[in-house]
């Protein structure tokens, strides 16, 4: 392998050791090519190619083993070296807030990620309560909405009747809880990140627009994601549960204390950078 990068500026000997010019790569390539060409011309060509290949490989290895592969190259005359880099005469004018062309970074303050996580958990709990309420009011029971959600993963639920879907299933409870928990956390995190970037009324965005968009997207994809739920879902209740999630999550996120979007660089890093 070639020697490492040149040393940083300082006193040096004025020559450099570099790999010497060598014919072996050319001859090796020629050997390989002739060996291949012989397959479509004449076997003698391949024979010559293989011989050349062996000779070139041996020459190459011998050059490396005997350390004859390097030469000392003196530096070129000083007038042919790169001119030292001089400081520019023009000064730099840094753009500052309010100057023409200055781009602000918005938002200046954001909710911490933890607010999004908390919001997701609270919203998820509120949404689960709404779904259970639907189960009780509709007469299907509290396990029904959980089983419908779990059917997204538990494909054998597609063959179950409505009565069977009203029964308790430990697997469905586990799967449904995981799906609901993870989705709630992810959406809560998105709320935490997106809400501060939206103008004015965060509760309008979080409590109404967000659930509307989410319900619309879910409506479009439900047939693929969860055919069982798609066949049985009560869309009015579905929207209400999304709305409850949005309001609860939005409230938690909106009430959290905002922090500056751009975190100050730790002093330790600044001093490290300045050491050079």
């Amino acid at each position: 392998m070639n020697s490492a990068a040149p040393p940083p500026s300082g006193p040096h000997e004025e020559s450099v050791s570099l790999p010497a010019p060598t014919p072996w790569p050319l001859l090796l390539a020629a050997g390989i090519t002739l060996a291949a060409a012989g397959l479509v011309t004449n076997w003698v060509v391949s024979g010559v190619g293989i011989m050349l290949l062996v000779v070139a490989l041996a020459g190459w290895i011998r050059e490396l083993v005997s350390h004859r592969g390097e030469i000392e190259i003196p530096w070129v005359e000083p007038e042919l070296r790169a001119a030292p880099i001089k400081p520019a005469a023009a000064r730099v004018e840094a753009l500052r807030p309010g100057m023409p062309g200055h781009r602000m970074r918005v938002p200046e303050k954001v909710h911490p990620y933890s607010a999004g996580v908390r919001g997701g958990l609270v919203g998820g709990a509120a949404m689960a309560a709404t779904a259970l309420l639907y189960g009780l009011i509709s007469g299907h029971g509290i396990w029904y909405p959980i089983n419908l959600l779990a059917a997204m993963i538990l494909t054998n639920f597609a063959d179950k009747s409505t009565v069977e879907l009203e029964q308790f299933s430990l697997a469905a409870l586990g799967v449904g809880t995981v799906i609901h928990g993870l989705t709630s956390l992810a959406v809560g995190l998105c709320y935490g990140i997106i809400l501060p970037t939206l103008p004015r009324w965060p509760m309008l965005w979080g409590g109404l627009v967000g659930p509307l968009l989410w319900t619309g997207a879910t409506y479009g994809f439900m047939g693929i994601l969860n055919p069982v739920m798609n066949a049985r879902v009560e869309w009015s209740w579905f929207f209400v549960s999304q709305f409850v999630f949005g309001i609860a999550t939005g409230m938690v996120v909106a009430r959290s204390e905002k922090v500056p979007a751009e975190r100050p660089v730790p002093r330790s890093r600044v001093s490290h950078e300045r050491r050079y």
Binding site: M1, N2, L28, R91, A94
Partner: protein
């Protein structure tokens, strides 16, 4: 400011000594120039093949070429341009620039580097030797099975194609290994990954793609060689082989190959746009991250070339989705470059002209790419001239425009002289017009149902006008290339001396003499940021002590 006569021009050597010096060199700069020079020769060959193709298609029922000759020409045009022009030219730029940009003396394996070049050059020669040995390959540049089986392709033309690409592919693989090692192991002190020039970032990902993409092609070619020479049946459908296996193996190489050709071009643009906008690149991190993302996704989209073979709906959906997905990181880069230009103090010299041309043309190629990623559209226009138009907008409008920008930008470093700006401007506008005149109408011809690779057509199809526009455009493009070669020839000998840093740029290659000494640097400038030369030129305002104040965006 007085500028010294370039170092290279002062060296007096006999022709024999010069030939020996160039044929035995292991210097990355000379090898880079050899790559570029050889690929320019192949560019002339591939260009002439394209002109002959366009001549044949000028009018319905023309008989300038026979069907077999036409098949040979489009096969060799595609093969030449992809394997022997664009890819080696970009690897030539990488060879020349990467060690200079990272402050190294040479590539990690200089002798292997020389071997790579010679394998490429001799592989190209072997492929083109087929013209004199009974006929050139005529199976298309992706050589679909079972057309390539001995039953359908007698003689040795397909064997030449296989062997030539095997040999040159070996060279590309070695270059990938060499670039990867160089970038990871030989960076100057202070240049961590987050401070590398973006061209180097692109080459890092490019090298990884080369290492992953070339072996499947090599394996497929060996299997095909066994089919043809020793009676194996890998792709012989009559004997239980699979023609689709070839397509999977070829495109597992072929689609990353598109990005192998595009990423270095992205890198060139990422270097040129900031310097000619007098601003730092907008979102360095996102450009680097998008590059890695493109590299990863590009390995998983190959079967979008195969929608018409009748894969399952699920596979169609997966590869279609992945193909849409790759538009995201590519789009991120596009926005980064535009945001860098936005509000900058633009210097519309030739490098930036070609860079902006790249942005516009590549967007058009990208948009038709998104169309083709949609399975129903692909079914309609697959194997039509719409696809031909699409990939020429990507590889010519994209890679070749960026390469031209790179020529104008780095020629002064390699030669010590500047390319003629006046000729460069003429070339740009003629090339832009000729390019769009050639490939724009192909979209329409394709949508009207003109299949690719037909050697003639009847006059009742409504394709004549679009083909004539394309042929005129090809001639205009030819004029642009004549200007380019004339500019190279004249400027190399008598161009205005450029000095070490003609563009007031910021990366390390501009800290060397033009052209650089064999060892590159007497002393390497300190690297504290992504723009080490900016730091030296503006000691009162370097990039690396800006944590608590505004980022400078305008030079007073």
């Amino acid at each position: 400011m007085a500028v010294a006569e370039p170092l290279a021009m002062r060296t007096e050597l006999s022709d024999t000594a010069r030939l020996r010096a160039w044929s035995t060199t292991v210097d990355h700069k000379r090898i880079g120039l050899l790559y570029v020079g050889t690929s320019l020769i192949f560019l002339v060959i591939g260009g002439l093949e394209a002109l002959l193709i366009r001549w044949q298609l000028w009018a319905p029922e023309l008989r300038v070429l026979g069907p077999t000759q036409f098949n040979q020409l489009f096969t060799m045009h595609g093969t030449t341009m992809i394997f022997f022009v664009v890819m080696p030219m970009l690897l030539g730029f990488a060879n020349y620039l990467v060690p200079l940009m990272i402050g190294a003396r040479d590539m990690a394996f200089p002798r292997l580097n020389a071997l790579s070049y010679w394998l490429y050059a001799l592989g190209g020669a072997l492929t083109h030797f087929s013209f004199f040995a009974g006929g050139a390959p005529d199976v298309g540049w992706f050589a679909y099975a079972p057309l390539t089986e001995y039953t359908f392709s007698r003689g040795h033309s397909t064997d030449y194609w296989i062997l030539g690409l095997l040999v040159s592919g070996l060279g590309s693989l070695f270059t990938g290994i060499n670039l990867l090692t160089t970038i990871l192991a030989l960076r100057a002190p202070g240049m961590n990954l987050a401070r590398m020039p973006l061209f180097v970032w692109m080459m890092l990902v490019d090298a990884i793609l080369l290492i992953f993409a070339i072996p499947p092609l090599t394996a497929a070619q060996l299997m095909l060689l066994l089919d043809r020479s020793l009676g194996a049946h890998f792709f012989d459908t009559q004997a239980g082989g699979s023609a689709l296996l070839w397509q999977h193996l070829f495109w597992f190489f072929g689609h990353p190959e598109v990005y192998i050709l595009a990423l270095p071009a992205f890198g060139m643009i990422s270097e040129i746009v900031p310097v000619f906008s007098r601003k730092v690149i907008f979102g360095y991190e996102s450009v680097a991250a998008a590059t890695v993302t493109i590299g990863v996704i590009s390995m998983g989209v190959w079967a979008h070339h195969m929608f018409t073979v009748g894969m399952s709906d699920v596979l169609d959906a997966i590869f279609s989705g992945a193909s849409f997905l790759i538009a995201v990181p590519t789009g991120i880069k596009m926005f980064n470059w535009i945001a860098t230009l936005y509000g900058g103090r633009l210097r519309f010299e030739s490098p930036l002209l070609f860079a902006v041309g790249f942005l516009a043309m590549f967007v058009m190629g990208g948009l038709t790419g998104i169309m083709l990623a949609a399975v129903p559209i692909d079914w309609q226009v697959s194997d039509s001239y719409f696809v031909v138009a699409h990939f020429h907008y990507v590889l010519f409008g994209g890679s070749l425009f960026a390469i031209m920008a790179g020529f104008f930008y780095w020629f002064p470093k390699a030669s010590g002289r500047r390319l003629s700006e006046r000729l460069g401007r003429w070339q740009f506008w003629i090339m832009l017009a000729g390019f769009n005149l050639t490939f724009g109408p192909m979209h329409v011809a394709g949508l009207l149902g003109m299949p690719r690779r037909i050697y003639t057509y009847s006059d009742d199809r409504g394709w004549t006008l679009w083909n004539q526009l394309a042929t005129v455009g090809a001639l205009v493009l030819g004029v642009a290339f004549v200007l380019f070669f004339w500019n190279l020839f004249v400027s190399w000998r008598r161009g205005a001396p450029a000095g070490d840093d003609p563009w007031d740029a910021w990366t390390l290659e501009w800290a060397t003499h033009s052209p650089p000494a064999p060892y590159n640097f007497e002393t390497i400038p300190p690297v504290h940021s992504r723009r080490p030369l900016w730091d030296l030129k503006h000691p009162q305002d370097p990039d690396w002590i800006l944590p608590d104040r505004a980022q400078p965006e305008v030079i007073a």
